[in-house]
């Protein structure tokens, strides 16, 4: 049985535009599911309805076997971590974590014990009496997580919890949260607009755009087998080449070049998508099903990667990414070079 189920959910704030529509979504028990999308895509509305701050205009939401569509927030038993942590500034760290236990009327001794364990879990032993404002961003984030987990909720929601942290701390917290999830096995629903974060942390990612769920799959599958141009372009960089799909998976580009592709769309106008890191150069390119002449225009050095801009297939913005690996040869702008890619790394997507 799935932990959470959305059935035909629609939400409209003003009765005119749908913030979310025709949403059917299952979250598996113990899963780490990320809702990913640009702002206004409906991902946050979906989380808000699941938390109970908003009610769907139509449809139902189940947690386990229970229809919670009209259950008030405080009766849902869901732990939530907010973007700005929402720690109570009038309470100490310990009092913050004790809050959900106190309102549930637990005995004082039981509260103290559970708070102690929660603090240990997020490695904040000894900080119970600190004021929340004295904590660093990463520590505040940990308190918020401990507070959301301390009452052993059946489900934890996280609303861009790492958005306020700087790059380095953010990457560290990603791994911490992921390991916490693996250890506790609690179902987590995570919202973010950062695609790398989504891919690193999740069991599955649900991509939203303009109120609709566009695709839901494991990160690698989503990245390598996108079913729409939106998903392909929202996750990572791609070379997008418009063309016409004919029979037998051959796409003809405006310049007459013929590309063998994995067809996802029906015949007609399509966009070919090739990931820059999947493109082979030189001799390796000649071994691929698709191989075309190109001219190197510009090399950008990104540290762990090289980003090449080439003139190829009638365009001047064909991008290739190489790892800055050991023994990489020199690349001079102006050089003629072949580019090539496999059929399975090239998808023809409809519009």
């Amino acid at each position: 049985m799935s932990a959470v189920r959305f059935i035909d959910v629609r939400k409209s704030y003003d009765g005119k535009v749908d913030a979310v529509r025709a949403l059917n979504l299952d979250v598996a028990d113990g899963e780490f599911l990320t809702l990913l999308g640009p702002s206004g895509s409906g991902k946050t509305t979906t989380l808000t309805m699941l938390a109970g701050f908003e009610q769907p205009t139509e449809g139902s939401i189940f947690i386990g076997a229970e229809d919670i569509t009209r259950v008030p927030v405080e009766k849902r038993g869901i732990g939530m971590v907010f973007q700005n942590y929402a720690l109570f500034p009038n309470m100490t760290v310990g009092e913050n974590i004790a809050f959900p236990l106190k309102v549930r009327g637990l005995a004082r001794a039981e509260i103290a014990e559970k708070v102690g364990r929660a603090l240990a879990m997020v490695r904040l032993e000894g900080l119970a009496d600190r004021r929340t404002l004295q904590l660093s961003g990463g520590q505040q984030q940990r308190v918020a997580v401990a507070r959301a987990l301390v009452f052993e909720p059946r489900l934890v929601l996280l609303d861009e919890p790492l958005g306020a942290l700087d790059r380095q701390l953010r990457e560290q917290m990603q791994y911490e949260l992921k390991h916490l999830h693996e250890r506790l096995g609690v179902t987590m629903v995570y919202v973010t607009h950062d695609q790398i974060e989504a891919m690193t942390m999740s069991d599955r990612v649900a991509v939203f755009n303009t109120g609709e769920l566009r695709q839901i799959a494991e990160p690698r599958r989503l990245y390598e087998q996108p079913e729409s141009l939106f998903v392909a372009q929202f996750l990572g960089e791609s070379n997008a080449l418009p063309g016409t799909l004919g029979d037998t998976g051959v796409v003809t580009l405006p310049g007459g070049e013929r590309v063998l592709a994995t067809a996802v769309a029906g015949k007609g106008a399509v966009t070919l998508v090739v990931r820059p890191e999947k493109v082979a150069l030189g001799a390796a390119a000649a071994l691929c099903a698709n191989c075309f002449p190109a001219t190197l225009l510009e090399v950008s050095f990104l540290g762990d990667q090289l980003r090449l801009r080439l003139a190829a297939l009638g365009r001047e913005d064909f991008i290739v990414k190489l790892a800055n690996a050991a023994g990489q040869g020199t690349l001079e702008p102006g050089t003629a070079i072949q580019v090539g890619w496999r059929v399975e790394d090239c998808r023809a997507l409809g519009h």
Binding site: F53, R76, N84, P89, F99, P100
Partner: protein, 276 residues
């Protein structure tokens, strides 16, 4: 950077001097008179302990200021809370009502209350006409009138101070409390109310201090029967020309005000409270 420093002082120094001359010198002069007129010494201040009329005025002032403060806080909290919850459009209407008094002369508003609450006024006319009471109620020219007028004048200060405080409270905190299992009432009592404490303290001090020194409203709505300190000072100086007694009371008022402010600054961050 000597040139930058010089031009800095050329700007800041005259402004500082002007502020001191305009605001500190006159007040210092009041202090001086209070210990020199009619003769040098603390004789005027002795009256605080000996003159029963001075003591009565002091007590009246404290009582009215305290009741005004309580009522203004109570009503102000309700209005500020409602403003926070209201839609932008309703918020604008409420803000307009609250700011209106600042633009319209206190004198005009005091007379408006006299006209409204007088024995011939519409309120009594309605109450008598509807048979609810037989005789018109005495709503002005007594302490009731003063309190109505004072609350009316002070309420905007309480509302604005509390509203500024409440606006600074992240709405997400109440939502977080709810999501953690607190009922509406628990979330208010355990999270929202404690966070408005600085606002309550600030608004209370502000209203109390302003009430202590208020003149026009008590003088007009009290009809000479409810003598507060400010009116007492005016009578001493204008009518009986006892400058020493008048300035002593004025100085006492100033010292009380500064003391209250100092006490406030120990409890909350005054600067943050008023967004300065």
């Amino acid at each position: 950077m000597p040139s930058a420093t010089r031009s800095y002082w050329l700007i800041v120094l005259p402004a500082l001097l002007m502020l001191v001359a305009l605001y500190l010198v006159p007040l210092a002069n009041v202090l001086v008179i209070s210990v020199t007129d009619p003769r040098p010494g603390l004789g005027n201040y002795g009256l605080l302990f000996t003159s029963s009329s001075v003591q009565k005025a002091l007590l009246t002032t404290l009582r009215i200021a305290a009741i005004t403060t309580l009522l203004a806080l109570l009503l102000g909290y309700l209005v500020a809370y409602a403003m926070r919850a209201a839609s932008t459009q309703k918020q604008r209407l409420m803000l307009f009502c609250v700011l209106l008094p600042f633009w319209i002369s206190v004198l005009v508003r005091s007379f408006a209350w006299i006209a409204l609450l007088g024995t011939q006024g519409p309120v009594n006319a309605f109450l008598v006409g509807s048979g609810l009471i037989a005789e018109p109620l005495a709503l002005v020219r007594n302490e009731t009138g003063v309190l109505i007028g004072m609350v009316h004048v002070m309420l905007p200060y309480a509302i604005l101070t509390l509203y500024a405080n409440m606006r600074g409270i992240d709405a997400g905190l109440v939502a977080a409390a709810r999501s953690l299992g607190a009922s509406r009432l628990q979330a208010f009592r355990m999270v929202f109310l404690p966070l408005t404490r600085p606002g309550l303290i600030g608004a209370g001090t502000l209203v109390f201090i302003l009430s202590l020194g208020f003149y026009v409203t008590p003088a007009l709505l009290g009809g000479g029967k409810v003598l507060m300190i400010a009116e007492y000072v005016a009578v001493q100086i204008n009518d009986t020309l006892r400058w020493g007694l008048g300035t002593m009371l004025a100085a006492t008022l100033m010292i009380a005000v500064l003391g209250a402010l100092w006490a406030l600054s120990r409890v909350v961050d005054v600067k943050r409270l008023f967004g300065a």
